[in-house]
Symmetry: C2
Subunit: 507 residues, 2 copies
């Protein structure tokens, strides 16, 4: 990237090349997306960040309903004994969960409060809800006529993570978790892959994040799953972000929880279950895919607002004139939509310096910016600034043309962002055939942009535990579903491999 | 109510007159709204119940945004030390809160899991979020230019209630909590009352529940509030349900939490705050206001679906014909809306007995039911059953007329439900002027429908602690805002009173 002195100063300090992890946190701060809270590992999601989450939720919710799912709500607390039922599941979650042990507080005599009223059985705050939802499924599922059960829950969950990072890994996070029950193995597998397709569609067509669908290798599976599928995205530092997962749970949970049904020929059978989820982590992916050294860049389809208008005046006569014009313009814009999304316009009338306003809107990733003063009104001509262009590069457009073209401009911006991210990702995928080459590819200082290495791999313990994995801080991201069949030898063990996997550093 | 033998059997057993509290639980069960969970006091909200909550949330959310509020999200956990800051607040909540003391589980050697990893400072699961949100407000609020701050949060909260009752009082419940910061006392008071108006509008015009806006007396206030305002509704057993509250917090929380700002003339001032909320309790109110001895009755504006179609056929030729007709009809219905709400239609094709289907839809409160078979198609005439009429009372209507009239039928049903509830409530409000009369009014067996007593009351400890209150299980519900000014003497103390209060039994 450009580091010579002619380049104007950037709004975000440090820049991506200077320090990518710091840049990420600064973008979040500059855009007022979220901030740290007094509860370690939990963040406060501020209105601009929550607006993005609301859009994610609303769009996905329609997709889930269109595929036959209904929302429901299950308890936040899970009795400890429930976790014990599925051996791998408890192994995966027991080490990092918030435990509720008391049901009141009392004074300790010195003005401090201490826990009181010890519970007979302790609870954990749900790290995920397979066990509690499965318990209910066992009651609801009696006959093949009750199947499939297709449920989704929007909820907060908690995992007591040691190392947290806003949006990407927080102790508490918001997510959706789909849980379904089916009569047959093939129906459950179809569901698992159908929801993976929903995630792919959403990530690519709304978040403008190109993703690779794939199957996880054994030791990367969800605890208790027979198979885990993932969508993997590449961030601008070349690292992978697991952006959504869909689990085929087989009969593991139905056997642990007695989810059984009578088939059409009166035989009692264990059901087949799935679960799938995405979380506020997607916002982290959004930031790291599109943002630049001036702050957040938002794909228009997911932006909480599309157009910001900054009225400019000096005298009170001008004020009246400008505000009238802006209000009429706003009314016209509010009639518009693009890709079935209503165009949202905001007016920033705050009494602060114009330059500060402009830069705030840039740092927040507002797609379109209009500064409107008496001169623009006189000429009925607008200076249109786009977030995907240089801040100083404004195109002049008649008001009529602006209204005519706004929907297609937003659609074009959406497509440009996806294509740019796709090009970046494709440029950073390489086939690697030797351990030596793998080592070279993933070595170097922190700022080096590596990417995805396509390698032959045989999914066994010997390969999974190869010392190079931890040495290079790399993991097997997935076995791409659309990968070519190609015979080869595992890089780590020399054992046979039929397909390449993706190896990368990851979040 | 009719108890003679000619009356056909009701779908809900017991009926309202037989046992109102049991009837309430049976309606919830019969409508698949919710059920008890393995976590004491927490319920599972099933899709039909959650669909109602989604409508409540979506409609209120628009109202909140229209009044300038933005959504955000704050941590689930609150450090214990935060609760200690506001003396009355901690007093109100410390006795019933879930306490998180550990951050992992370990095996105890016998295969059981026990809490491990004791936290340095324990947390409570938020019973309400004034303290944690106030902590953030103190950071965000620096200058008068930052004010007002108008935030809302949709969240789950937890209060470890001893006696729980589905929807009305559960340990965990879903709600929204508005939290705002203002520069002046009058702005904060205006906000408090504005949101009370929003709640009144929502309750009356969407839930079809008539409510009385009022101010709470001292000992009924929110812990830490200067003043609490409420909307009080009357259930069909005459009891009051506090359905939403709006709190003027004065400077109590801003002083406890240092929420300060520099005014236009550079003086540091404590801010003024408010908070306001409604919860899943509203669903309890909805059930108890409108439902009858056949199950749930839903005001169309809040129903998750408006029309249910049951196709009927015998032969496979008929099946094709009927399903074609039904699908075309469904398409037409989906184009319709009433009161700006899209009409939602469901088709019930399940292979179960027709009578069972019909009664399920009645018990779930579906507003409009159509059973369509070959004969109806031949005549192009529909038999339309309305949930607010007798199950056997179907009106015949041409398909054309049905499509023309459906929106106005739904609107009429909405209005009828409100008017019916209003008449019931007004019939059960009486002015009472002596303690003797009060005693008579609220005495009698459990099944007696009492109502609201308008009485003179002087808000002092002596009156609040009068033994008749607990003897009759009555409380002061509110001082109605629209009550007449009328001088009188407090029923309990003889002290002067300028206005009557509402006294009632309550949930």
């Amino acid at each position: 990237m450009n580091t010579n002195n002619i380049k104007t100063k950037n709004a975000i300090n440090p820049t991506r090349t200077e320090n990518y992890p710091e840049w990420y946190l600064e973008v979040i701060k500059a855009a007022d997306l979220a901030e740290n809270s007094p509860v370690r590992g939990s963040m406060v999601i501020r209105p601009w960040g929550y607006g993005i989450w609301e859009n994610i939720r609303n769009i996905l919710d329609i997709m889930f309903k269109d595929t036959g799912h209904e929302n429901a709500y299950f308890p936040l607390l899970i009795p400890i004994s429930f976790l014990e039922k599925e051996a791998e599941h408890v192994e995966g979650f027991a080490k990092e969960c918030a435990v509720v042990t008391h049901h009141r507080l009392k004074g300790d005599g010195s003005g401090k409060l201490i826990p009181d009223g010890k519970l007979e059985e302790a609870f954990v705050i749900r790290p995920t809800s397979e066990t509690i939802i499965g318990h209910m499924f066992a009651k609801w599922c009696k006959s093949y006529r009750d199947l499939p059960i297709l449920i989704n829950q929007w909820a907060n969950v908690m995992r007591w993570e040691m190392r947290t990072r806003m949006f990407l890994r927080t102790s508490e996070f918001l997510w959706q978790e789909g849980h379904t029950v089916h009569a047959t193995e093939s129906e459950a597998m179809t569901e698992t892959l159908k929801m993976l397709d929903v995630y792919e569609n959403f990530a690519q067509n709304y978040l403008a994040i190109p993703v690779i669908k794939g199957e996880k290798t054994k030791n990367e599976r969800f605890p208790g799953a027979v198979n885990t599928y993932t969508i993997e995205a590449m961030m601008q530092d070349g690292k992978a972000l697991q952006s959504g997962t869909s689990h085929f749970l087989g009969q593991n949970f139905s056997k642990a929880q007695e989810i059984k049904y009578f088939s059409a020929n009166e035989k009692e059978e264990y059901a087949w279950t799935t679960s799938w989820g995405v979380s506020t982590r997607l916002i982290g992916g959004l930031i790291m895919t599109h943002s630049d050294d001036d702050g957040l860049v938002l794909p228009p389809k997911i932006a909480p607002a599309h157009v910001i208008i900054m009225p400019i005046w000096k005298t009170s006569d001008e004020e009246k004139q400008v505000l009238n014009y802006v209000e009429a313009l706003t009314k016209d814009i509010r009639q518009l939509s693009f890709c079935d999304i209503k165009i949202i316009v905001k007016i920033d009338k705050r009494d602060i310096r114009g330059g500060e306003k402009v830069w705030q809107s840039i740092k927040k990733g507002l797609p379109i910016r209009l500064e409107i003063g008496p001169r623009d009104i006189a000429s009925d001509n607008l200076l249109v600034a786009r977030r995907d262009k240089d801040p100083k590069d404004k195109s002049s457009m008649s008001r009529f043309d602006f209204i005519q073209n706004l929907p297609s401009i937003l659609e074009e911006m959406q497509n440009n962002l996806f294509n740019k991210a796709l090009q970046f990702r494709n440029k950073h995928i390489v086939k690697i055939n030797t351990l030596e080459a793998l080592k070279t590819y993933f070595s170097g200082d922190e700022s080096k942009v590596c990417g995805f290495a396509l390698c032959h791999y045989n999914d066994c313990d010997e390969a999974a535990n190869h010392p190079l994995m931890s040495e290079l801080k790399i993991t097997i991201r997935c076995i791409p579903l659309n990968g070519e069949n190609e015979e080869g030898c595992c890089l780590f063990t020399g054992k046979p491999s039929l397909k390449r996997v993706i190896i990368a550093k990851s979040y």
